[in-house]
């Protein structure tokens, strides 16, 4: 793809400049995301639906694949347009270490905080801002093989909550979640190298 054809493509991409500015993707990356979006959009409707995602076999085989797909579609919305797609994908850009810490500037989409938020809401399906024991159990069950007995699952979930729950309300809030992961290199874990 030469530069001439890419610029003609750029005209087709909705809100291209806004997106580039907001998410920090380069024009080339945006183009590739757009191509991917179009590829997934089998019916060429300009919007994606959950079925388009489940058609990716390796995603369907992901233990938490359905949650990942769900995070693209807020409740009540079943179609995903390209700008929304890009904004979510922007979470997975590697963090830019040279960003100036300007208090007035808006927090970039791929900051550590935002990445943690994304992971948090994969657990917190009912959106009340807390990970309850049941929600933790659900995720554990999805990620563990079938041969693990129920009591052990319960113990693991119990222990996980004990470790993280600082204010003793039996649920993990976002702050507690963030605190428990403070030593972990989130940028490395939640970034995709080639999205830089």
């Amino acid at each position: 793809m030469g530069s001439s054809s890419s610029s003609s493509y750029m005209r087709n991409i909705p809100q291209a400049q806004v997106l580039i500015h907001e998410t920090g993707f380069s024009a080339a990356h945006l183009l590739r995301l757009y191509e991917r979006f179009q590829f997934l959009d089998k019916g060429s409707t300009g919007e994606l639906r959950a079925q388009d995602f489940t058609a990716i076999p390796s995603l369907a085989l992901n233990p938490i694949g359905d949650r990942i797909i769900g995070s693209f579609f807020p409740p009540g919305q079943e179609k995903l347009d390209f700008p929304s797609f890009v904004r979510i994908m922007a979470h997975f850009r590697p963090t830019d270490p040279n960003r100036s810490r300007d208090g007035t500037q808006l927090e970039p989409v791929n900051s550590r905080n935002k990445k943690l938020r994304f992971a948090f809401q994969l657990y917190d399906q009912n959106g009340d801002g807390n990970i309850s024991r049941a929600e933790l159990l659900q995720v554990l069950r999805a990620m563990l093989g079938v041969q693990v007995p129920e009591e052990q699952l319960q113990s693991i979930a119990e222990r996980a909550i004990q470790e993280a729950d600082l204010d003793k309300d039996n649920v993990i809030s976002f702050d507690e979640f963030r605190k428990s992961l403070e030593k972990v290199n989130i940028d490395q874990l939640m970034s995709i190298r080639f999205l830089k």
Binding site: R32, L33, R36, F39, A50, Q51, T54, A55, P57, L59, A60, L61, N62, P63, I64, D66, I68, G70, S71, F73, P74, P75, G76, E78, S84, R87, M89, F92, R117, A119, Q121, L122, D124, Q125, N126, G127, D128, G129, S132, A134, L137, Q138, R141, M143, L144, G145, V146, V148, E158, A160, Q162, E163, F177, V184, N185, L189, M190, I192, R193, L195
Partner: protein, 741 residues
Amino acid sequence: MDANTFTRRAGLLLVIFTFLCFIHGSRGEIPPQPAGGVTIVPPAKPDGAPQAYPDADTSNLPVFTMDYPRIQIPFEITLWVLLASFAKIGFHVYHKITIWVPESCLLISIGLIVGAIMHSVKEEPPAALSSNVFFLYMLPPIVLDSGYFMPTRPFFENIGTVLWLAVVGTLWNSIGIGMSLFAICQIEAFEVQDVNLQENLLFASIISAVDPVAVLTVFEDVSVNEQLYIVVFGECLFNDAVTVVLYNMFSFVADMPVVEPEDVFLGVARFFVVGLGGMMFGILFGFAASFTTRFTSKVREIEPLFIFMYSYLAYLVAELFAISSIMAIVSCALTMKYYVEENVSQRSCTTIRHVVKMLGTISETLIFFFLGVVTITTEHEWNWGYILFTLLFAFVWRGLGILVLTQIINPFRTIPFNTKDQFGLAYGGLRGAISFALAFTLPDTIARKKLFVTATIVIILFTVFLQGITIRPLIEFINVRKTNRDLHSINVEVHCRLMEHTIAGIEDLCGQWSHFYWKDKFMKFNNRILRRILIRDSRAESSIVALYKKLELQNAMEILDTVSGDISAAPSVVSVYEDKKSPSQPKKKFMASDLRKMHDILSKNMYKIRQRTVAFTGKHSLPNDTQTREILIRRHASIRRSIRPGSFQSPPVPKSHKYFSLPAGQGLDSKFFPAKRQSTADDHETMSEVAYPSRHSRFTKPGRSSARAMVPLHRLDTLKEAPSVDVLNESRGESSSAGRG
């Protein structure tokens, strides 16, 4: 005696027994020369003197006869194969060994022992390494195995690098080593002045064929990154082809007294003809095979046969025209696999995989085994200078080659190679089977053939033993993880794994990141034209449904239904009651031993991140499906459960049941997602479209219902109609009958 010791002794006894049988029986060579009727007289048989050809004039009817020459060849082949296979069993009895010593080393060692014994008994080993036997019988299964189990997607993503390293790398190595050795030859002290340039180049081309079978196993175990793995794998495959071409070219050239510049040009042209021609033939035969399997629904028993016959045919026809047969069989396997696996029945698919794996493994085992045997029994010509310098140059040029070539190609790669990768690539350059065979097929017109054979064997043994054994500690050493795992709490371990799965999922979402344009074009062409012709039932089937069928999940699903203890039955019960129960429970205390146990459970049972390559190319094992099955069964079960009528009568279903919901307006910044009020009419229609394709069939054919049924998007309590389980059963039943042959 406990079981272990017993098995060990039994294993040993078995090996010795077979071996004795073999020694007793072996009296000749495998190639069918009419063996001068040598008969074996068994020790004490008083009756009828066993004769090879019972004399018609004897008055008594011979009660017991033995006719060894008649069965000699198949018998010896079987015994050799059996002996090599026993060796393989033997290695796993001492399971610790295979971790530290690659199998190829062990096989060579056993071969050396056997060779030593045979030498002392003054036996001749079977000439299994005559040109025909090796290239026509032993090589094709190995290459078919590699080609069939090659993971296509990562391979094509990296194809530029693979070809670059295979072709240019091999050329670099051959010419580099050849030239340096020629320079060495000029030194009088080494007494090898009679080896001219062509012969040096020929020899160099033999030893530049890299065969990292042993290394691949180590890479898998150490979970080296996927890119490295696929590049090493692909390079191994292609440089076999390149080496054979170069060898043929150089041997032709070696015969010529004078080399003209136009010959060099012709050489290059020939190279392209050979490579591309091989590929074309392979693809042609692949299509022919796919087309044939379109019509085999009535003859399921012989379906696997077509795969083998067509690929072997591709190989032989390529050999006929002296073009690259390895390329032919690899491209045949690649093309065939995709279409054939859709046409044949599930059982045939499994059979094909098993047999391909089995043949490949046996061939490989035999080759390494013979390497050991032949090492002892051939006549060697030793020349310190030449051989040592060969070793040196082989290392040096490989290292240099990798360094230079990766630097050149790094800018073109999406994920460039770092130093560790380069080290892995360079150090993983073991030599193996191909070099071995080519050395033996050197024409006898070359005066110093024995020297070359010796040098080749030395370099193979050296690289396999030294590099093979040390590569694992080295890789582990340079890949030392920075974070110490034991310090993580349970919490963090679970969260980290969740994040790894997330990233894997998002990467899959992004799909390929390069060569996208061509792949898309090809897929369109594929769907429109190729699939119509080559696949029997060419509905554009959702790949999920195909996956279900492949994993025989339909059966599993039915079993799951009958067994009332659903795997994931708990959540719906737990989540409803848990919130009420938890405040009243006392805090549990966890001891250190409990914690250790928990860490243990987590590390053993958490699903691994999908490794696209490793899952498919375990060189000594078949792809493992259990993880996939469990995930799919569980998901399907929970979705079916959530659609069943029972769930509507339960108390107001908490939102935690939704599988595809986001927190209502929270979590992510709400300005990104304008919250929309859902109208019940919308709900109704979407739900029915999703679950009852038979009613709104404009989007889907019944066969796709399983895929659709995985996506309940909306809260179920708004649905007015109670879904009947029958619809789902019926649609599933249809798809399952479509899948069976």
